[in-house]
Amino acid sequence: MVGKRQARVGRFDVAAALAARALPGAMTPLIEQARLDAKMILERASGRAPSPLIGEQAEPAPLREVDLLSILPRAFVEKLRSAERDVRMLTGRLILGKNPSPLIERSRPAAGAVVSLPRKTPAMTRPLKVTDVIRETDDAVSIYLTEADGSALEFRPGQFLSVDVIIDGERCRRAYSLASACMAGTPRHITVKRIANGRVSNHLNDTIRVGDELAVLGPSGNFTVEPRPVNERHLVMIAGGSGITPIMSILETILRLEDRSRVTLIYGNRSWKDVIFRDRLAALRDEVGDRLIVDHVLEHAPEDWSGGRGLLTRDVLEGRLDALGIQDDGLQRYFLCGPTPMMQAAHEALQARGVAANRVAEERFTRPEEREGAKGSSEAELVMISRCGHEHGIQVEPGQTILEAALAAGIDMPFSCAMGGCGACRVRLTSGDVRMEEPNCLSRAELEQRYVLTCVGRPHAQSSILVEGA
């Protein structure tokens, strides 16, 4: 709330303040009243009637706060003050032996103070070079990438890149898994399958060329394994369609780096010609023998097809797990990636076989268009960010995410995929209201502990967040 207007200090005020300082304290109320009376008489005499409305009158300065120099000419007072400061500086150093602080003390911004106005969001992506483009099927293309300086991309098997593509002037961001084995000397690639009406997947399938640059963030994601040559394990993997990409990276890395580990893959597709990495899987099978079992399941199978048929529903999956003789030994780890109904069916089938949820890893990708609750407030909102013991106030414009506004204000914020898929930008909401695009990678437990993702989070009210571990 704005404070009440204070009246200009005049001669009466100064005279009254002088009298109040010179005379005993008991006299102060009398002097105060005399000041007000004198002012009133003077104003009336000069034709200025007091305002008839309550609250519109300027408040007289309290007597003890009246500056005795205020009736002198301003320029003179400024000189006097400057001289006073000079004398203080000299006596401080010479007599008191006290130097002025070498540091500039600045108050930290109080809550509510905006210290950083929104600017253009800095580029979060970096360009990768497209070194090769290989068509895997009629509807899928593998794009081979290196860093801009030609070096290999660092990643862990199963991780994904967030790819930014500008289509008709609009930035579209999508996640694509790296499908290569995570080994030195192996070229890195993502594989993009056309989706009906998918803007980015169609754009990339139609236009990407060797020599192009692709703007990316990451690699990101926790759908991954750590290969160790001493391991001897059995991974059971269920993939549907383009869900094979992170699975391919994991299985090939494991089979090549862990000599005693084996993989069983149940892999569903619409038809034989739609099977991405069909030949690569066959070649790998030839190379590693029984350590890899690939069970293709086709929705539209040819008549002479001897493998599984149909969509990967719970019944079909249970049938395939039985046919493959997979008995859960309480240690196996399961990896799922594919369309949402397939994932649901796989969870149910595994749960029915007594597989604990913590042994099942899954990767879900959703298109931003399918997300909800992403709009945020229609007005700019203030967000206070606590980081490393400091508080920064930023203004988040309508439509902007907290991450975008914070980066634009020059604040170091953790982030990786910038599309709600990896959790790297997780912060704790200490007050206010932040809404996120759904679904995202936060668990129910994290939501209950008031964690939010800044990359898909937009404030709905003035809010405060804490960047932990920074």
Partner: protein, 393 residues
Amino acid sequence: MLSDKVLDNLPQEVRRRVEPYVEAVQLMTQTSNAKVLRSMAPSGIRGLILQRGKQGVPTKMPSHHRVYFDWTYPNDHPDMRELYTRAKEQQWNGDDLPWHIDVDPENTEKPIMPRQFMAFDDLRDRGIRLTDLEERRLNSSVASWMLSQFLHGEQGALFAAAQVTEAVQFFDGKLYGSTQVVDEGRHVEVFHRYLDTKLNKLYQINDNLFVIIDALIQDSRWDVKFLGMQIMVEGLALGAFGTLYQMTKEPLLKELLRMVIQDEARHVHYGVLALRDHFRHELSDSERREREDWAFEVALLMRNRFLSFEVYEEWFEHKLTRKEWAEFVTNSPGFAVFRQVMFKRLVPNLREIGLLSDRIKPHYDRAGLMKYFDGQSARELSGDQMIAELDAA
């Protein structure tokens, strides 16, 4: 020197109190030119004695220059016009620097300044033992101090550039000057943002730097403003930025300095263009001598500015005398490199504008600066060239 002997015999506490004033008097009496003394002394008193820059209130400086209008808009200086074109093409946005980079001033893997910047052994010999952590913190304090001084210098440059734009008589120079005002604003922005959001530590303006800014802002003569700002402050800053650019392993600061250096190279070039003919052909001998002595006095102030007494006051005020600290800084390898590179950039420019006559050379020689006499002046050296030279070093 007599005053040194007197100081040495004073009790420690008394010495601590009067030493800054003795230094100030010594500095201001280095010049034998009465006109220089007359023009610099008030600034010296305001900066060194009254410490106006540290009084905790905004400083108001009167300005006495004449604003030069030309209603015919002549194309009067093709070199400046070209510089204006180049400046427009090379504008950049401070927001585009990689601000997302996390800066830890005490990180030993990407230090802002190398660990061996200061001679810690020298401190140990003086009885001050710092732990590993304290050494890193002192290094980080010096980095914040240096960048704070760059920031204060840039604020001075911002206002001086505006004044110079008003006062210069070349119309092409005025157009160019407008880009320099923008450049300086951007430099204030990026240095402040770096200090505020990355280092979280801001030092007061150094008294010597205050004197220089005060002197040139209040001087009514346009060419003295040019000399002070474009040649001395910008020229020395160019050297200082270049040295830090070479030394730092912190990627955000490196990029920031790379961009700033390219602007600064233009600024110094402008000063050389504006002053060369004026000093050589239009000034009387006595006027030129005065400029020469003024520039030398400013060079000494700049040298003293790098003695970083603010860091001394924060860390060692009751452990060392100012003189001991000044010796320590002077002997520290990092500061020595700074001094060398700064003057390497400055001296050739003074030569180019004709302010290094045989009369003044012995003074620079005594200050150990003559060895840079044959370097390239700003006229011969573009920002890109300078970055390439620094990268190759």
